[in-house]
């Protein structure tokens, strides 16, 4: 016997009828799934925006930047690196650029009216013009210690120290006091993000450091750029090259590592929020299953009529299953829109890069549909098992 079948397109409209006929209930039922999906999309969206922002930051500073400084000795001794260290490092093959700084122990104050005991928190870094290029920093105003400026009492401020000294601009010309010597401010740096220590410093040239403070150009920190393919190798040989006798006295680090660690810490928080989103989804799925079971009981008449009009058990089952998937799908789509909106708002507010990978959105919708299918299975089977004679009994 030939068995005619309900067309797929018609099945969809039959299932949609069940949703449309009870709009209010459908909306309430979808809320749980909507909240769950919104939470998951927003959390993953904010997390991936954060990652994209980090990548952008790392890209601008570069992951091939290496910093080397002396390990603080047991009693705080050995503050500087061996003389001639820059030359040694330059001879390492993959090293592309090297520059050094010396940390000078000088008191930085805005004016001489500020007590000597209140001037802490800002360090003085003696450096040359290459520093900015090697670390990838930018000036927000003015210029760096170029050429002959190294020999005159001028200074450039890190972003944080400029703020602490109350100097927002080099106009009108401002000066600060470094160990009782006046220095004119010729530039202010943008925030360096991966070098928080430099943000809290003021920079002066080697020449003036020698003439005014009698500081030799003994470097305390080395900044270098290596060929990106050999960064790990350079990190490995750096300490023995700089101090062959006591390589353990040299501390080698990659500033980008610190940012990545910070990101990892935030990931733990993201997982917690994802967990909460999953709980909302689970509750949403149970809500759909509940409502669908109730719906099956209420709609015995409809089931009976459809069976008497020729619907097979499978067609009834498909109808209720698809209805459940549609309910959950509506929640999923609303959730995705809400989640993307939240992410967009957040990234806009915190001024970071907006980024949600397509697979996350796609995955969220598929997840909603799968939950709908699982939630609808039991009610659909229940509906298909109703005996037509029982269903039309009045």
């Amino acid at each position: 016997m030939k068995v005619n079948k309900l067309k797929t397109r018609d099945l969809f409209f039959v299932a949609l009828y069940g949703v449309k006929a009870r709009r209010g209930r459908a909306a309430m039922t979808s809320i749980g799934i909507g909240i769950g999906i919104a939470a998951i999309v927003a959390v993953t969206g904010i997390s991936s925006s954060g990652k994209a922002d980090l990548l952008a930051t790392l890209e601008s500073f570069g992951t091939n930047l290496i910093k080397a400084s002396p390990q603080a000795g047991f009693f705080g001794s050995q503050e500087s690196l061996p003389v001639g260290v820059v030359g040694m490092v330059e001879r390492i093959g993959p090293v592309e650029e090297v520059t050094s700084t010396s940390r000078a122990n000088l008191l930085v104050r805005r004016t001489n009216f500020i007590s000597e005991y209140e001037g802490g928190g800002i360090s003085t870094v003696v450096t040359s013009n290459e520093l900015l290029e090697v670390i990838g920093g930018n000036l927000s105003e003015g210029r760096f210690i170029e050429g002959d400026l190294s020999d005159v009492p001028v200074t450039v401020l890190g972003a944080v120290s400029a703020e602490r000294l109350g100097i927002k601009s080099i106009y009108p010309p401002a000066k600060i006091l470094i160990d009782d010597q006046w220095f004119g401010v010729i530039g202010i740096l943008e925030e360096l993000t991966i070098h928080p220590d430099l943000d809290r410093s003021v920079f002066i040239g080697y020449g003036v450091a020698k003439t005014l403070f009698d500081i030799d150009s003994e470097p305390t920190t080395l900044y270098l750029r290596a060929n990106p393919d050999y960064v790990e190798d350079v990190v490995d040989v750096l300490a023995p090259s700089m101090n062959p006798e006591n390589p353990d006295q040299v501390e080698v680090s990659r500033p980008s590592d610190a940012l990545e660690a910070q990101q990892a810490a935030e990931a733990a928080f993201t997982n917690l929020l994802l967990g909460l989103g999953s709980v909302a989804l689970l509750v949403g799925g149970v809500a759909i299953a509940n409502v669908m079971v109730m719906s099956v009981l209420e709609r015995r008449m409809e089931i009976g009529v459809r069976r008497s009009l020729g619907a097979t058990r499978k067609e009834i089952r498909s109808q209720f299953l698809l209805e459940s998937i549609i309910l959950s799908g509506i929640g999923g789509i609303v959730g995705v829109l809400l989640g993307v909106g939240i992410t967009f708002g957040y990234t806009n507010y915190t001024n970071i890069v907006f980024s949600i990978p397509f697979w996350q959105i796609f995955g969220a919708v598929v997840l909603a549909l799968v939950i709908g299918a699982i939630s609808g299975m039991y009610p659909a089977i229940k509906a298909s098992k109703i005996q037509p004679a029982e269903a039309v009994r009045t």
């Binding site: 005619n4 409809e302 619907a311």
Partner: protein
Amino acid sequence: MSSNINSVISLKNISKTYDGPPPVKALDDISIDINEGEFVSIVGQSGSGKSTLLNMIGLLDNASEGIIEIEGKNISDFSDDELSKFRGEKIGFIFQSFFLLPGLTAQENVAEGLLYQGVKREERLKKAKEALEQVGLGHRLTHLPKELSGGEQQRVAIARALVEDPAFVLADEPTGNLDKESGLKILNILKELNDIGKTVIMITHNQEHAKMFKKKIELVDGKIAKYEG
């Protein structure tokens, strides 16, 4: 009451017991033959087994014992899917409480009668319009059931039953919820369907209506008490 070679519906020693506790014997050893084009009434008190018998004939329920043959085929040979499709194509049901889907218009409700036969939507709606015109509701196509009177709703239900052009029309007290005038109208429509060759089997409480039928089966406590025609 003997088996008839021309009968389109033949019930042989049918019994139906509903599982208890306590078990209820709704039908007890029923044998009926219904010929093509007959107009049959089933009468009896509430609980006498009328609806069970009609559901059995309409393949909505299985017999506990006995054989049901429709158009010469033993329906116990049919799978559940085949039974469903047979119902859809050959049997039109009319229920006492109309059973229209509240969210669909009259025309859409009638079109549902063809849904499970794989007929295209445009074709379904076209045939639904014709069926509604046939029962005098051509002007009510876009009305929802709640906007129609009881009599009109039952006529929509009749249109839904006959849109699939069934060989048999089974009606379970179709006038039970209607006033006298609407009830007569429904009865006349069923009579007209019979006149064009459909086999009509109807349950009724109304003795006056029952007089219009040539064949009458009266049930008492699940047994045939009287078999006329």
